[in-house]
Amino acid sequence: MWRNVLALRQVSQRTISTASRRQLENRVSESQKLFQEDNGLPVHLKGGAKDSLLYRTTAGLTMLGTMYAVYYLLVSSMPKKPN
């Protein structure tokens, strides 16, 4: 993200060193090749290993949270025992 902010400054002023030039080239065609590969992967996993990690983290967190929510729903539905 920060690289993009720095890139933005350079892009609007047009002073670009060779090192960061790769950052600002049009790399859409590389992404198009990656995501049009005939490998049968659904789009949410087609970017590679990072996609699977992020998906599993999200699904795991959501499922744990749902179990937590259902547990507390059941607890809150029960009458409190009088002393």
């Binding site: 933005l8 659904p42 789009v43 949410h44 999200t58 949270g65 749902t66 929510a69 507390y72």
Partner: protein, 261 residues
Amino acid sequence: MTHQAHSYHMVDPSPWPILGAAAALLTTSGLTMWFHYNSPNLLIIGLTSTILVMFQWWRDIVRESTFQGHHTPTVQKGLRYGMALFITSEAFFFLGFFWAFFHSSLAPTPELGGQWPPVGITPLNPMEVPLLNTAILLASGVTVTWAHHSITEANRKQAIQALTLTVLLGFYFTALQAMEYYEAPFTIADGVYGSTFFVATGFHGLHVIIGSTFLLVCLLRLIKYHFTSNHHFGFEAAAWYWHFVDVVWLFLYISIYWWGS
């Protein structure tokens, strides 16, 4: 290899709708746990999972359109209808809060001292920071239109400058509004004045943050060459949303800040 005989997009199976629904469940029940049992854990899990789902779902839409080419003119038409309907629903959302404001302010009760603003409330001066905020949002409407023209004219440098300026103006508004909230001589707990003021302007502020984020994502995509001079609907959707946020502010300024003081 089979090819479709229509111009619609039959999406790949995706986990985001169900996980998004679950995240909404966690966020709402998390709010309940926080309000009634003083426990923020579920709310934090809910907000985190909501953000994760949003990031991945919209990432996938960028992949399907820019990288896979599925957004035909027919698909784009559907997206236009969708965004327009969504913004319309948001307009109705704000209409409710304006209704509440006018309900209480047009006929102030004896408990308020029979006047609006109520007895004991010192409203903010509409000619100070609120006027500056109005100028900021109006200017940002100009810059986002400049950005759009630059995109259609394939002027990359100016498009980036104009969109950057728009985003900065949005953040400036948010910063000023946050400072106003901190310095205000009344709170949300100060009767119906406080409630109507902070709920209406608060939801508006949330929409400014959402709109600024949407524009920032568009800026990053613009830098990465995702938009072409005649296909850039993501940007157009962000610009529509931003104009909507601007218009809501104008109504807020005129009715709550100006008439309401």
